[in-house]
């Protein structure tokens, strides 16, 4: 098979820019590394342009290790867009903490490369390489503030949990290899199709359990979510956004690749498993979030709950379900990154990260408060925002797919989530500013302003004119093997 580097052009650009940044940051003083971030942003933009230009391509590349198809193109564009927003809105924050901007952006770009490789993978070896690239760099990014004990704690906790998950995943994958004798995903699908007829069928189910469990770790689904709150709280704020938007998405992409395509012969089993996981995840996430006082911890539980919603679309195991998952992930990136962008921008101005610190923000800084309200409304799922259209897609996929009970679960959970999302909104608009609150500084840097604008416009455009995005998600939701 020919090795076709052209079709992984975006990844080569991304990884190349990342390595270039590592090199450059060794020669530029920490205080003068802001331009390096622009280099990183440029790299993401070029990768985005390349993958857009290449979006019609289908076929395998790198000797059958990756496959370009609508769904992997979709994830590629989504992850790059998310990385772009993170890169824009995180710049001030990273710089204000006096660490090496170049290194941070290098790690960010390489981690994104890993996430994209997971989505492109057409072979479990490539899947695992992508996962490890993303994970290892994520551990470093979570603990990036070396002087900050909370950041260290975030890195260590994420590392210990993640390493266990990787081992479990490998174990599951090795069982699959043992059953089928191949590492190629289509080969596995064919091999498992034969294996489930034979006496080894229980082993296949066991492997499915290990793989799903490990990926559930990755996306922070209950009961594998316990690393999330500490990691989100301690990690650099922009990276917490990256965890929610890109890492989670990569986990979903991996589930779609290995479970939905590779283990398609078992599709009668995993729908119900995922449904139970979804119901459990959203309920525990939402209910636990009600008690949080730190905004980033709250967002951690929020992202757990959102993962629960997204899993609803997977549980249905139909094309509509996949399409609604893709739409949700795309919409979710704007709302959740918007929230983290606001947290980061305000914390650069010296505001704390407790929800109580947000009291009176509506009067101190009405534009920031207005944006945060928009993102919160979207996370709740109120019409005119992306969140509503995304939930509409999930609910309609589950109602049409015969999972009305799960749709009701989702509905009840949305109502519960009002309790904590709206608590923040209430603090901002209904409560007076606390003593000694940070006075408003309206100006943000051009990069942060642009990133926030992208997030806000994304939320509103997807909420009001969703058709293009639905068509996009539906086009992408075709899965080989289904």
């Amino acid at each position: 098979m020919p090795v076709d580097f052209g079709s992984v052009g975006p990844e080569i650009v991304l990884a190349g820019t990342g390595m270039l940044l590592i090199l450059l940051s060794a020669f530029v003083a920490k205080e003068r590394q802001r331009p390096l971030a622009y280099v990183g942003i440029l790299g993401i933009l070029v990768a985005l342009a390349l993958s857009w230009a290449d979006s019609g391509a289908t076929g395998t590349a790198l000797a059958g290790m990756v496959r370009l198809d609508p769904i992997s193109t979709f994830f590629r564009v989504t992850f790059l867009a998310a990385a772009l927003v993170v890169a824009l809105t995180g710049l001030d924050f990273v710089q204000s903490r006096g660490v090496s901007v170049g290194e941070f952006y290098a790690l960010l770009l390489l981690a994104t490369t890993g996430a994209i490789l997971m989505a492109l993978a057409w072979d479990i070896v490539m899947l695992y390489i992508g996962l490890e690239l993303l994970s290892v760099l994520s551990y470093v990014l979570a603990g990036f503030f070396r002087e900050d004990p909370k950041s260290n704690e975030a890195g260590i906790k994420y590392f210990l949990n993640g390493a266990l998950a990787s081992a479990v995943l490998l174990f599951g994958l090795s069982m699959v290899y043992g059953l089928t004798g191949t590492t190629s995903i289509p080969g596995i699908a064919a091999g498992l199709g034969r294996a489930v007829q034979g006496p080894m069928a229980p082993v296949a189910l066991l492997a499915l359990g290990f793989i799903l469990g490990a990926l559930a770790f990755k996306v922070a689904a209950v009961p594998f979510h316990l690393w999330a709150p500490d990691t989100y709280e301690g990690a650099p704020t922009p990276f917490a956004g990256f965890l929610a938007a890109v890492s989670e998405g990569a986990g979903m992409a991996a589930i779609i690749r290995i479970v939905f395509t590779g283990m398609a012969p078992l599709s009668s089993s995993f729908g119900v498993w995922i449904a139970v996981l979804a119901a459990l995840t959203m309920t525990v996430g939402n209910v636990t979030a009600l008690w949080q006082t730190n905004f980033k911890r709250l967002m951690a539980y929020s992202s757990v709950a959102q993962v629960g919603y997204i899993l609803v679309g997977l549980a249905v195991v139909t094309r509509e379900g996949i399409s609604s998952v893709l739409f949700y992930l795309f919409a979710y990136l704007f709302m959740t990154l918007g929230v983290f962008a606001v947290i980061a921008a305000l914390s650069v101005q010296g505001q704390g990260e407790d929800i109580a610190d947000y009291a009176g923000l509506g009067q101190r800084n009405p534009w920031m408060a207005g944006l945060l309200t928009l993102f919160m409304a979207s996370l709740v799922g109120i019409p005119t925002t992306a969140g509503f259209m995304a939930k509409l897609g999930l609910i309609s996929a589950s109602v049409s797919g015969g999972y009305t009970w799960l749709a009701l679960f989702l509905a009840v959970n949305s109502a519960i989530s009002v309790g904590y999302y709206w608590n923040v909104v209430r603090n901002m608009w209904l409560r007076p500013s606390p003593e000694g609150a940070v006075p408003a500084r309206r100006a943000t840097s051009a990069a942060a302003g642009l990133g926030l604008a992208v997030a806000a416009v994304g939320v509103l455009v997807i909420g009001l004119l969703p058709n293009t995005f639905y068509v996009f998600a539906h086009w992408a939701s075709f899965i080989p093997g289904h």
Binding site: G362, Q363, P366, A377, V380, G381, I382, P383, T384, F388, L392, I395, S396, V399, S400, T404, A407, L408, A411, V412, S414, A415, V418, G419, W422, R426, W429, L430, P466, N467, Y470, V471, H474
Partner: protein, 487 residues
């Protein structure tokens, strides 16, 4: 034209974003200009409207073709009447918002947003578009109660929000289930209605879908036992917001019943007609009894409002031409009367800084013409013949009598109670010797009269010439009754 009427307020809100906060007069003026323009557009629609035709001023363009969702606005008689009420009360509430002196700009931005949502609900003919407007309306109202309210405003605001959101998500599932079970790939209300009329609607779970959709509307309408958010919200909201809540927003629930659940799920509607009627009567009697027990003027008006919505539900449940016409008439009439009452609560509170009924007394002398207006409003509220309230209640009871005799008997008992608490309220506030502390209260002023007089005039006009509305309503009600399989 319809889009212009609906989105002018929103456009005004966008303009307001760029007006400095300190320019309070300019903010108010801009808001009033946009509300007036929108009301003018509604008036033009009313002038161009033909009572003999069905949906008019149709704007139907694909919005999300992939999901079969259209941007579909149109008016029929029912929509037109509700649009008129919304435009009028919106304008009056904005004038009455004179007392909002803090964060005025934010208030009017929210108010204009709310007005767009309310106008939109009453002419949306696509279920998803309907849901859009239905949910959007919560957000501004939440802030209006929470920021400018009184008493336990945060509690009331969040209770309002959670109740309505639960209602609306359950309703959304109902609507989607309806969509999938019809299998016709349309959310268009007239299209679905045509399927119903030709009995080609294979709805498997009709009863469940009906319950899911109706729950949301009953919450909005404030029907016992789903009403507990309502007195809190009505009482703690600032006067202009109370006026919109009671005058327009509660009607959204009744409108939804007429437009969506009864219209599109007629056989389930018949299964549950008796249940709805009983809930209606319980609401009438409970609301009236609770009103009788109140010591707070505003709470009394709130419970009185609950009680009147019971009549609306009873009329809708009965499903005869007369009863449904009566229910719609009652919606309009109650909008006018409750508007007057909340305005008067404001008028009195502004002068006395209390709403405690026992502290009032002999105010006929101190309030001047205000006392007379309060007397008028109470008479209108208790359903005095020749005023609009009478027509609505009479039609509902007469129309429901053929279907639900026992219920009507209990409803009549409710009428006695309603008369009782209205007279009792008048007695407490106006009669008796004039109290020293209320001597020399400022007379009712021009701005207050501007808000009250149009409502009084309409109340009389509708009471004397009910046909002005009834002939517009004839066709839509007839269609609905035909769907329900009645005569």
């Amino acid at each position: 034209m319809l889009s212009v009427a609906v989105f002018l307020p929103l456009f005004g809100a966008l303009v307001l974003l760029f007006v400095p906060e300190a320019q309070r007069r300019a903010v108010r003026a801009i808001a009033l200009v946009f509300l007036s323009l929108s009301a003018l557009a509604v008036l033009l629609i009313a002038i161009g409207f033909h009572a003999g035709q069905g949906l008019q001023f149709v704007e139907d363009v694909p919005w999300m073709p992939a999901l079969h969702v259209n941007y579909f606005l149109a008016v029929d008689g029912l929509s037109l009447v509700m649009l008129g009420l919304t435009a009028l009360l919106g304008l009056i509430a904005a004038i009455a918002a004179h007392g909002i002196t803090e964060r005025t700009k934010l208030f009017f931005i929210l108010f204009l947003l709310l007005q767009t949502a309310l106008l939109g609900i009453f002419c949306a003919e696509d279920l998803i578009l309907f849901m859009f407007f239905f949910d959007v309306m919560l957000i501004p109202m939440y802030f209006m109660i929470g920021i400018w309210g009184s008493g336990r405003r945060e509690y009331s605001a969040v209770k309002f929000l959670i109740y309505t959101i639960i209602g609306s998500v359950v309703m959304l599932i109902g609507i989607l289930a309806l969509y999938f079970h019809t299998g016709q790939q349309t959310f268009s209300i007239p299209e679905l209605a045509r399927l119903v009329a030709s009995r080609r609607l294979p709805v498997v779970w009709e009863d469940w879908i009906f319950l899911a959709i109706v729950a949301g509307f009953l919450i909005k309408l404030g029907i016992v036992p789903l009403h507990t958010w309502l007195p809190d919200a009505y009482v703690d909201a600032p006067i202009p917001a109370s006026l919109i809540l009671a005058g327009v927003m509660s009607k959204v629930g009744a409108y939804g019943l007429l437009r969506v659940s009864q219209y599109l799920l007629p056989s389930a509607a018949q299964h549950f007609a008796a249940l709805l009627a009983v809930l209606g009567v319980i609401t009438i009697v409970y609301g009236a009894l609770a009103a009788t027990a109140q010591h707070d003027f505003k709470k009394l008006v709130a419970f009185s409002s609950v009680s009147h919505m019971g009549f609306v539900l009873l009329g809708i449940a009965a499903g005869t031409q007369l009863a449904i016409t009566g229910a719609i008439f009652e919606m309009v009439s109650h909008g006018l009367v409750v508007g007057m009452l909340f305005l008067l609560v404001g008028v009195i509170y502004e002068r006395t800084h209390t709403r405690e009924l026992s502290r009032f007394g002999g105010m006929y002398a101190s309030l001047g013409s205000g006392g007379g207006i309060l007397g008028f409003a109470a008479m209108a509220n208790l359903g005095l013949p020749a005023l609009s309230g009478f027509i609505g209640e009479f039609f509902v009871l007469a129309g429901a009598f053929t279907v639900f005799r026992t219920e009507v008997f209990w409803a009549i008992l409710g009428i006695v109670l309603i008369a009782g608490y209205n007279l009792w309220m008048l007695q407490k506030i106006l009669m008796g010797p004039e109290r020293e502390e209320w001597k020399g209260l400022p007379a009712i002023n021009g701005r207050e009269l501007v808000t009250l007089v149009p409502l009084m005039a309409l109340c009389v006009l509708l009471g004397l010439f009910p046909n002005s509305i009834i002939h517009v309503l004839h066709l839509p009600v007839q269609q609905l009754v035909a769907h329900l399989g009645g005569q």
